[in-house]
Symmetry: C2
Subunit: 364 residues, 2 copies
Amino acid sequence: MQYNEVLDNLKIYEAGKPIELVVREYGVDAKDIIKLASNENPRGCSPLVIEAVKNEASKMNLYPDDSMYELKEGLADKFDISSKNVIIGAGSDQIISFALHAKANQNNAILMARTTFAMYEIYGRQTGTKILKTPSHTHNLEELLQMYKENKDIRVIFLCLPNNPLGECLDTKDVYSFLEQIDKETLVVVDGAYQEYASYKDEAKKIDPKELIEKFDNVLYLGTFSKAYGLGGMRCGYGIGNEEMITALHKLRSPFNITTLSLKAAIVALKDQEFVQKSVAENFSQMKRYETFTAENGFDFIESYTNFITLKYDASQSSSSIAQKLLKKGIIVRDLGAYGMNSLRITIGTPEQNDRFFDIYKTI
Amino acid sequence: MQYNEVLDNLKIYEAGKPIELVVREYGVDAKDIIKLASNENPRGCSPLVIEAVKNEASKMNLYPDDSMYELKEGLADKFDISSKNVIIGAGSDQIISFALHAKANQNNAILMARTTFAMYEIYGRQTGTKILKTPSHTHNLEELLQMYKENKDIRVIFLCLPNNPLGECLDTKDVYSFLEQIDKETLVVVDGAYQEYASYKDEAKKIDPKELIEKFDNVLYLGTFSKAYGLGGMRCGYGIGNEEMITALHKLRSPFNITTLSLKAAIVALKDQEFVQKSVAENFSQMKRYETFTAENGFDFIESYTNFITLKYDASQSSSSIAQKLLKKGIIVRDLGAYGMNSLRITIGTPEQNDRFFDIYKTI
């Protein structure tokens, strides 16, 4: 059968290997496997959320409140905005897809850093739009600006702050200066999936969604419950923008786009900021161990404002081969070979997981 | 800001009113509200599923196994097909969206019955395709075939068997005769969301996905966990088709498109067919009460092969006004006025809910 042309440029996405797959493929015992590959929160989620979800489990037959009133009000309170500035997605992923389907098409282009969140490109390709990337792997505002000025057909720009999968983060004041030079018809997506981490580590990286959307009508801010809130498996994220933009994006949202249990989980998670703060604090104290480890072992890393760290190898070592060796011993990490980088992205684990990582790393 | 042209033809979807909204808007006590509007399974889901989900709640931080190995194997076993014939979606809704984005575009058209599942049209509009509907509200194969022959640009046809929101169902042998006359480049979506109900009530309506896809390379069968399995709130459905088609649709699936708890729920739900059978049997014994009630009260209904029934009024009564009166007393039903029909769609409730419905109906 013939399909729409856009499918010709689409590949089937291969997610990071789940624990179940490593059990099946390598015969490693499930209890011996540590997954440090998907930037899940190794500390789980708030116990209040677990309790609430267990209580809600008898309502799985019922569709969620599709207005998502309580969750939107919670986010509006937290960020001091109106609930009309908020859209809920099945992960912030889904809002990336809405933004692209709203603006990108086969006659225009989108712009992003060379190595950034893979879904920008994947959803971009679904629209048939042209994908433009900077020469630099990490975010370089000068390159982004120059390319923007040279390509009049760019309609969406992605800034991942901090950046997944590399971990670096721009200063907010520099982001603002950049945004001032972007035309109001160009949608800029500021992806704050890891903002809870960046703003904790360095105030200069902190983005206030309210200030951001008040200053810039053309900016869509994204947040998620998948990282600091520890709800990656529940697929719930949010977009914040001016009311007119949020209304337009809602046209692409289908009813019941998150589950009844995800809605409950997110509502309760928002109320336990103490869990978030503790989990972010422990993340950075554990991250120091990785920084020390890399220095001691003579290789490099990218300073990270997230819950993962990117280790960089010189030509004497191959990240792919290291990843493979770790995998056989039950440690799942993310090799960035596919991005043209001789690097590994490693999620910062719990103290015990990190102990084990260092022990095993030394043996390979 | 200017958006892609397709957005001009999109409206924001208004889902059936959730219980929470009726509490907020009408001040009715939550415990007095009965929702018979969204075809949720009023008997909940299997207790085994609730137990399994509670046990899995501590894993909400972890993304699901994106290969969905266990669920696909479960479905493959059930239908005696290969797991390569299966794609999993966030509700069968999402697979409708994949099918449309794979085949429909602004240069072609899609065909459906006049009154059928609203998402066919909504997702269709997102692609800019032309939407064609038969003159008859219910499925009429002669009309569908005639329109198909007259419009050479039709690339997707939807058959909802049985049909939501009206409840009628075609005989499988007639569907097969129809499919034989459709070109192999036209994708036919056979939506079996309520097949567990139809096949229980009447063997002649039963569709065997294996036989269907073996006979017809261009047919995509859809099933869901939202109805008979009682997991509407968990957003999990499946598509079954030949391997080449399923591979193409997978290009449009993004990673982690269902939640960790939805995956677990669906895997366990499949294993409790006894729950499904009991729940379907009770549905039809309760449906008889509605049939008797309408006969006694001098109005009509459409014979239903689903978990809901459509009541038809003559010009002396207005379905919208009846729906509004019921709502104020805490009974939520679906008015089909928006479809140009003076009818109400009512989900068959539990015996107690139905008692209450009849009692309140008599008072309005």
